[in-house]
């Protein structure tokens, strides 16, 4: 480049002849302060994400430790107690976890079959025209804010359930309608991740199966699905993690009080596992408590951080499992 003083030559205008020696630092590039500053700035940007994670862990752990240090809270009661009523000193987290598990379970029952079947359709059966209709619909479903889904659960799903199962069986706030709508929320996620996994299976496998006379369904079920199984399983686990972390739908539709129970006294299927009764989840509880008046360092304030830590741990473990499945069990064909 003309004019750029970037060449290997130093003070002399003529390049050194092959017989001349050149000192080492004549060959190193000139330090450019600007580049270094920019690189440092970009590095800081990259590091910020680490600070975020550290921040999350520190913040949650710090307040959770303060919580567990309180005299009225014991770890044993926390993990095995079946009543969550901080006002009178009951700190058993099981009712909240139970509701979370129930809702995630119902959501999975809804989302996994439908999502997987849709993904199989998209990757094996769909014509380009069908794709062009279906993919935007799934994108729209994925882009709708969760608070709108919550409204939908309260205003549509609950009345429908009450019509089907009777107004006596189904309460106004219940776990079933929240669970079903969380499932609907997750369908696009399952579909897109599964479809990515199934599409990654090379065409040669399918073509081989067709060549051997397999029908389209047989190919999909016996060749493609097992080949992409790691990705599909990972998709399922990610979806579960999303369902566990879902907040607004459950806050609006699932009720505003933990389903406290006593083992032995309350019937298992009539109350404890009954999906038609209200039950607040971990996330719903956190949002309700922090949306009201909250004085820092009160028991309620500290308790939501302990639940937050538990939630973070649960979703982290699920996400790590998903990634492990993908890296360890993925079948690479090429």
């Amino acid at each position: 480049m003309e004019g750029k003083d970037n060449s290997m030559a130093t003070q002399s205008s003529a390049p050194p002849l092959i017989t001349e020696t050149v000192s080492a630092d004549a060959l190193t590039k000139r330090p450019r302060i600007g580049e270094s500053i920019i690189q440092a700035f970009l590095f800081v940007c990259g590091i910020i994400s680490i600070f975020t994670t550290i921040g999350i862990v520190v913040v949650l752990a710090e307040e959770a430790i303060k919580f567990f240090a309180l005299p009225q809270v014991t770890l044993l009661e926390y993990f095995t107690g079946t009543k969550w009523q901080p006002a009178i000193g009951h700190f058993g987290v099981l009712p909240l976890v139970l509701a979370t598990v129930l809702i995630s379970g119902i959501a999975m029952v809804v989302a996994l079959p439908i999502g997987l079947l849709t993904a199989i359709y998209l990757s094996e059966y769909a014509t380009p025209r069908a794709r062009n209709i279906l993919k935007p619909i799934l994108e729209i479903l994925a882009g709708i804010p969760t608070v709108v889904y919550g409204y939908f659960a309260l205003q549509f799903m609950t009345p429908v359930l009450r019509t089907i199962f009777g107004v006596e069986t189904v309460q106004i706030f219940n776990v079933a309608s929240a669970g079903i709508v969380v499932g609907i929320l997750i369908i696009p996620l399952v579909t897109s991740l599964s479809e990515d996994a199934l599409s990654a299976v090379p065409r040669s496998l399918r073509e081989g199966a067709y060549a051997l006379g397999a029908t389209r369904w047989e190919t999909a079920r016996q060749i493609v699905l097992p080949a992409g199984l790691s990705g599909v399983t990972a998709a399922f686990v990610v979806a579960i993690s999303r369902a566990v972390g879902e907040t607004m739908i459950v806050a609006i539709a699932a009720g505003s009080g933990p389903r406290n129970f006593t083992l032995g006294q309350d019937s298992l299927f009539g109350f404890i596992l009954n999906p038609f009764v209200a039950g607040e989840t971990m996330t719903g509880h956190m949002v309700r408590i922090s949306g009201g008046d909250l004085s820092y360092n009160s028991v309620e304030y500290l308790s939501i951080f302990s639940i937050g830590l538990l939630l973070f741990a649960m979703t982290l473990v699920l996400n790590l499992i998903a990634r492990r499945i993908v890296t360890k069990y993925r079948e690479v064909y090429e």
Binding site: M1, G46, I114, Y121, W217, T247, I252, V287
Partner: protein, 747 residues
């Protein structure tokens, strides 16, 4: 050893693979199984599509519908009163409750014009000329079918209790309904259709609890019936009642009847407020305020339509230049024009003399309503201020004006001296320095203090469209004092009004502004950081442990539930960094409010952390898609790494980065949980004015409204959802357009 090779015999297949005809059957069975599964696949697709349709249906169903509104003061009545006041105060207008007086006045003056019931025209038809309106002169045919625009039904109102206890009143109404069509043309009005009369008869039968079949009528012989009876009301109905009374007395009726011609409004006052009359006669139907007043004194009004009047627009017989007017000319003649030539240059240059009924007349109401119908919102600001002045107490008016004036040149509730004294004093009013209120402001004041709408019932869209008559019935029975109107909960007022605790007045302005502020800060913070991190990871990072850790970390962060970010924001930005985020460090805290960290700045930072991983991942993908040849070309020409990135790689990757950013921002716009945790206010009516303001966002507002039990709040939530979805749709559409536009560009 044998010379021939052994023939190869294939081993028996372990699965018993069929052959021959069984093979065909097996293939068919497998295909059938495939088809069954295909149907299941189709069903699973349909579930997603149905879910989306159900979602949109629920929202639209709640965002529009019929609404029953009760007003403290009916806005239609307020408009009428205001317009009539203007008309009656005009110096060239003569008004009277006595239509004969009006007729005499018009007859004498060639430049006069006026209107009253058709009967009065007929009685004076020698001295008066009837004008055609839009080419139509009233007669029986065009009055009955409605093509004459100024036709109106005439009514008698009473109460079932009165009819059952007061024989005279009962007989009068019964006689009316039996014989009115025989007399009405003679009086000068127009008969109702037989169907309409039998409707009134049905009402009479119901009021008397007579269980007769629909076609049958029972007429009472008035001979010998006595008692006292007072009818008061419309001057238009008066001649008709007088004629019926003449006949009644000829047929032996012995009751003592007081018949007062005072105007429909005065008649309703006597019937519903004073309780001094037994029957009200009117040329306009009872409005809901009068209805409510009647119910307050224990009367349940029943309506009997008895005939139709055509409003006659008349000029003197001496008038030689008019035979008919258009509706537009009519408007001008009675409002803006001063001389006849103002309306039509062919007409004489003389002042128009107007003869109109008085303020209590239903005829005047009808004329104003029909000839210049105007909604409250369309009146000019001066008229609105006048309505406000007429309907609030002096104390309240002074309080309102002291906060902000109504007009720069005129005081409404204060004298000039009082105002000057207050403004020069120790504590001047806020209104001394603020600019005057605008029309929106005055309309809002009217809503809050004068009309005071109160929603008593709501219906969803689909029932409103399909079951309209059933709903009207229900509304009439349960909420007779309410107006039934079709309302779109999403309207301009909704977007412009701030939040309010009454659902009738609530709007999303505060929430939308809050959302925009928060998202702006989120974008400003997360975009440079995210793109920077993406560039670092893609262009600069070597494959060492730290960078792999960063990469894993980012993927993990993308899967953390959003509420955890809220807790992080609560602990770090709201608590620990309160000095910065509340603005105390910059001296930006509003006087009189407690400084705390629950501000837009905290919310923006929290959401920025939330969407940072998504932007980084999208940025990385965009950068990865830039072909290496670009970078190598730049390097080959001697550019430094950053120069290559800035001038070659980034511009190429920018569309992808932008698309990812816009999608993340639309995600941030829809986030609720972290903002509720960080401290979105549950009730805030002031607009945010900076990053240190308290705030609420649109999703938080929706959550708040959905949590309220009253049904009106569900409708408000649905309307707010519509606004939110429209915002998101436009954002996403921009992203998709960007993506499609730049996808075509060869890189």
């Amino acid at each position: 050893m044998s010379e021939q090779p052994e023939t190869y015999i294939a081993p028996e297949p372990k699965f018993g693979y069929p052959s021959g005809p069984k093979l065909g059957a097996q293939i068919q069975a497998r295909h059938r199984r495939g088809q069954v599964w295909y149907v299941l696949l189709g069903a699973s697709l349909i579930v997603s599509i149905l879910a989306l349709i159900a979602l949109l249906y629920t929202i639209v169903n709640d965002a529009f519908g019929l609404v029953a509104v009760e007003y403290k003061n009916d806005p239609g009545r307020l408009v009428l009163d205001q317009q009539e006041k203007i008309m009656l105060s005009d110096p060239d207008t003569v008004s009277s409750e006595d239509d004969n007086e009006l007729a005499a006045g018009i007859a004498n003056d060639p430049y006069a014009v006026g209107f009253f019931g058709y009967a009065y025209y007929q009685n004076n038809s020698d001295n008066l000329t009837l004008l055609a309106v839009d080419g139509i002169t009233p007669d029986t045919a065009n009055v009955e079918d409605g093509s004459y625009p100024l036709a109106r039904p005439l009514f008698l109102y009473s109460d079932a209790d009165i009819l059952q206890k007061n024989q005279a009143a009962n007989v009068l109404i019964n006689y009316y309904l039996t014989h009115v069509n025989e007399e009405i043309s003679g009086v000068g009005y127009f008969p109702l259709s037989a169907g309409r009369i039998s409707q009134s008869q049905q009402t009479w039968k119901q009021a008397n609890e007579l269980d007769l079949p629909a076609g049958q009528w029972a007429s009472i012989n008035p001979e010998g019936v006595g008692g006292r009876l007072t009818i008061a009301g419309s001057s238009t109905v008066y001649p008709l009642t007088e004629r019926m009374l003449q006949r009644l007395q000829a047929d032996g009726f012995a009751g003592a009847v007081t018949d007062e011609s005072v105007g429909s409004s005065a008649g309703y006052r006597q019937f519903c407020v004073d309780g001094s009359s037994d029957i009200a006669a009117a040329s306009r139907p009872m409005n809901q305020n009068e209805f409510a007043a009647c119910r307050k004194i224990g009367r349940q009004p029943v309506e009997f339509a008895v005939g139709t009047d055509a409003l006659a627009i008349v000029v003197s017989a001496q008038n030689d230049f008019l035979t008919g007017v258009t509706a537009d000319e009519l408007r001008q003649i009675f409002t803006t024009a001063q001389k006849w030539s103002d309306v039509n240059p062919n007409w004489p240059d003389e002042t128009i003399k107007r003869y109109i009924p008085g303020a209590d007349s239903g005829t005047l109401d009808f004329f104003v309503e029909t000839v210049f119908p105007v909604a409250l919102e369309d009146l000019p600001q001066e008229a609105l201020t006048a309505i406000l002045a007429d309907n609030v107490s002096l104390g309240l008016g002074r309080r309102i004006e002291s906060e902000q004036r109504f007009a720069a040149d005129q005081l409404v509730f204060f004298t000039e001296a009082q105002w000057a004294e207050a403004c020069d004093g120790a504590e001047p009013y806020a209104g001394c320095t603020l600019p005057p209120r605008d029309k929106e402001n005055v309309l809002l004041l009217l809503e809050e203090n004068v009309t005071v709408p109160n929603i008593v019932a709501v219906w969803k869209l689909v029932p409103s469209l399909l079951n309209r008559t059933a709903i009207e019935q229900e509304a009439l029975e349960k909420y007779p004092a309410a107006n039934l109107q079709f309302s779109s909960w999403v309207n301009l007022d909704f977007i412009r009004s701030p939040q309010s605790s009454t659902p009738e007045l609530a709007g999303v302005r505060t929430a939308v502004l809050g959302s925009l502020w928060v998202v702006a800060i989120t974008a400003l913070v997360s975009f440079p950081l995210g793109v920077g991190a993406a560039i670092y990871l893609e262009e600069y990072a070597t494959d060492n442990r730290l960078n792999r850790l960063i990469q894993t970390n980012i993927s993990n962060l993308a899967g953390v539930p959003s509420i955890i970010y809220g807790m992080l924001g609560l602990a770090v930005f709201v608590r620990a960094l309160e000095v910065i985020t509340s603005g105390a460090a910059f001296g930006a805290v509003d006087v009189g409010t407690t400084a705390n960290g629950r501000t837009i700045l905290s919310a923006g930072f929290t959401l920025a952390l939330l969407i940072l991983p998504i932007i980084i991942i999208a940025g990385q993908e965009a950068l990865r898609a830039v072909p290496n040849s670009m970078r190598q070309g730049g390097m080959a020409l001697g550019a430094t790494k950053w120069q290559t990135i800035w001038s070659h790689v980034l511009p190429n990757a920018l569309p992808g980065i932008l698309t990812g950013t816009i999608l993340s921002i639309s995600r941030a716009l829809g986030e609720t949980a972290p903002l509720v945790v960080v401290g979105a206010s549950t009730f805030i009516t002031t607009d945010p004015n900076g990053p240190f303001s308290k705030f609420t966002t649109l999703p938080a507002q929706i959550y708040q409204w959905t949590s309220r039990p009253q049904p009106e709040f569900q409708n408000l939530a649905a309307a707010a959802i519509v606004v939110l979805l429209v915002l998101l749709l436009s954002l996403n559409a921009t992203a998709i357009l960007l993506r499609n536009r730049y996808a075509r560009r060869p890189s």
